[in-house]
Symmetry: C2
Subunit: 474 residues, 2 copies
């Protein structure tokens, strides 16, 4: 008798899940690293990973204050140690106290800290801690809300609008849940901005075969690095109201804004500035995380979501659903408390905290600019300004013969390109096809996270490679 569980008898939705960020390129990169260690000769000495948005893995330093408080919470005997500043000790005492009394699993003071942070960020617009749900990274919150919204069969199945290019968590979650993915294309010619006309087109096409109920926005964008204007956000909210869509705003890069003239506007703030006609009706869930911004703490899996205008009975269902899996990791919760309640002016850690935060963000801004500039010197590569987030998503022109060779090998052309790049230079990128792109166009996603000098070397190598590649296949 065969196995109980085979690919033919397993959950078919799981099989449909695709996840390029950790796909074959990364697997090969890990292999190459092993080969290098074993002494295999290569035309390079190390693999440079510009494939995933893990800042600390690329050498960015954690914020001292955060790590001090986490150490104090882990091992409270350190509270007697003079080495730690008083404000760090105070935060740790507060978190430890809140933990001790809690039988609910989430530390209550965190939701209060989060709601005060949001109020401050949004210029005083009220935030009710009862609208805050702590999550295991933003990923967990996004999947949970999509899960609540997925119903129906066939033509009544829930449709979810996502941008293309997209962060592949979205397509993966939709495949797993069996919801219908509705693509709307960002406008590469206008710096990856969002056109309402395109939203309308994609919505109407989708209504032929499913029931569109949700509109997802990533701002600042991954993989595209654009920052949405206030006007655009207002237009999106109007569109969602008119078309009766639930809005999901993925704002995990809210501090990662570099370009002059760009600023982060939260969907919550814009919604409330549009007046009660919108602020009392449009249903919105927005997501934040400890993984990005100046924190970069991917490993702690901290996150929250704020829900606005959610039906109270649905909120009760949501509360029940999340408690089955017990609480999000407590160190991540503690970290979120620190991110939303960092050292204040007058506290001993304030100066160092601000210095570290500013240095990290300035360094990212510099690397964003450098990336755009160097890439745009390469004939056949065209890169939009990296206005925010941590990625560039340049368009690459591939010779016809390269496209043919790729197809002969059964590879998509930008996968073929990235694989060759990896083998020849050690640079690890993700092919554009992993995020979605307009038919016939090719891209790759490159993080701006490697240290400045390494990034510069990498960009130069990439330039050389692209020129050789173009020559070879012309």
């Amino acid at each position: 008798m065969g196995k109980v569980l085979t690919v033919d008898t397993m959950n078919a939705n799981v099989k449909k899940v695709e996840y390029a960020v950790r796909g074959p390129i990364v697997q090969r990169a890990v292999q190459i690293e092993k080969e290098l260690k074993e002494g295999v000769k290569k035309p390079f000495n190390e693999v440079i990973k510009a494939n995933i948005g893990d800042a600390h893995a690329m050498g960015q330093q954690p914020i001292t204050f955060f790590r001090q408080v986490l150490a104090l919470c882990s091992y409270p005997e350190l509270l007697d140690d003079n080495k730690f500043p008083e404000d760090a000790k105070n935060r740790a005492r507060r978190i430890l106290k809140a933990c001790g009394g809690s039988s609910i699993g989430t530390i209550d003071c965190v939701r209060q800290d989060v709601s005060r942070y949001i109020e401050h960020r949004d210029g005083g617009i009220a935030c009710d801690p009862d609208n805050i749900y702590l999550t295991t990274g933003a990923s967990d919150g996004i999947v949970t809300i999509l899960k609540l919204l997925t119903t129906g069969e066939g033509r009544t199945r829930t449709g979810v609008m996502i941008s293309i290019p997209q962060y592949p968590l979205y397509s993966a979650a939709l495949a797993e849940l069996g919801a219908v993915q509705i693509n709307y294309y960002l406008n590469e010619e206008k710096c990856w901005s969002l056109d309402i006309d395109e939203l309308q087109r994609s919505l109407e096409a989708a209504r032929e075969h499913c029931r569109p109920r949700v509109l997802c926005i990533i701002n600042p964008g991954n993989p595209t690095g654009q920052v949405q204007s206030r006007q655009c956000i207002e237009d999106v909210i109007r569109f969602a109201a008119k078309e009766h869509l639930f809005l999901m705003a993925d704002e995990v890069y809210q501090d990662n804004v570099y370009a002059e003239g760009c600023a982060f506007h939260s969907f919550k703030k814009v919604l409330f500035e549009m007046g009660p006609k919108f602020s009392s009706t449009v249903e919105l869930a927005s997501f934040h995380s400890t993984s990005k911004c100046y924190m970069g703490e991917c490993g702690f899996r901290g996150g929250y979501m704020e829900v606005i205008n959610m039906d109270p009975e649905v909120k009760a269902q949501l509360t029940k659903l999340v408690s089955v899996r017990l609480c999000p990791p407590v160190p991540g919760q503690a970290l979120m408390a620190l991110v939303t309640n960092p050292p204040q002016p007058g506290e001993p850690s304030y100066a160092q905290f601000i210095a570290e935060k500013t240095a990290t963000l300035n360094n990212l801004a510099q690397k964003a600019k450098m990336t755009e500039e160097i890439l745009n010197t390469v004939p056949g590569i065209r890169c939009n300004p990296v206005q925010g987030a941590m990625y560039s998503f340049p368009r690459i022109t591939l010779p016809e013969r390269a496209i043919k060779d790729a197809k002969a090998k059964g590879q998509v052309p930008d996968m073929f390109y990235c694989m060759k790049l990896l083998e020849e230079t050690g640079i690890c990128l993700v092919p554009g096809s992993g995020f979605g792109q307009k038919e016939g166009t090719f891209h790759f996603r490159m993080t701006i996270l490697p240290p400045t000098d390494k990034l510069q070397t990498m960009l130069r190598k990439l330039k050389e490679f692209h020129q050789q590649f173009t020559q070879q296949y012309s």
Copy 2:
């Protein structure tokens, strides 16, 4: 226009999820605590929570060595501090090194530590690190495996056999996934043991309306506290092989064995001792966690699963699926590395580690015995020996009039009982109906976690309450 998302238009499977452990009793307990703080007079001064298995929340002390290493990992400047023993520093250096090089998100050395731990636990039976998946608590692993196994529609829908009484994560996950829950009843008269005849009965009944594919076992048991004999495990494995079922062994309480004559036998070990006919065919996933045993670290959400005889293509699908959500929390991974690679004889922290571990487990053993003994002095309460885990699940006799009064109020009788107990004594338990029980029987689940003196007081109060309650309704 109404809301996009209402209870009528939300995912119907989510609505079916029930989770009694954090249900109305706990909500009322939280309210009562607030009232006490506000000075409201009650016949008691504090709420005693014996409802959830969170050992640290009930005063159990964390293991010093674990917390030292976690503090060192959080804030590596402490590596220069003389206060920390060398073995703690060595563990921290190793974990930090493994983190730095990793772009995959899981720390590679953890899977190696886990596999050596399993080999040692199981008397040398080999464990391949490639069969180990790190998880966000055992919960995450259990839900993931159930997800893989859920397919089909109507009569071909996957059926999953779970014990009754059960840990409600199982029923909740099955409801959410839309899999069919198949109940098999543990034998209360034989100390909550598992009868193969009952497995057979329940399987055959289920085959009428679904396709049974999975058999879940919790050993040591929650909420029932029994420890399965080696013979019973062998019988279960034979049954799974004969009936072509995928086995899921929830072994999160593997160190929590107290009763004389009882020992923990892992399903993996018994499977391999039964010879290649079984060990090369029966598909098994077993689960462990940092939340229970002597560790009690629920907040870190550490866990692993080991899969045996899983189809390699399915393993590839599993790897893909888990990488979409990024890695399990790194502090939880680090903690799992420490649990599976604790201080060794000769290392400076060994003596203290063993002393703390032993004291914690001895204290639990003592409380397990005390709970059983005191409960069995109460007429109308009958408690099986608490052989392992952290709970007693005594049967209570309720007067006819109490059952009638409860029904008039629309409450299940043991909820009525527990709610009254809470209001009159401040003791917070979970009604047996939250875990499932034979029709017409009533129980409650009580943890053995409160500190010894508090547990004793609580048991006395409970005794008084039960006597008064019986009188009042007779």
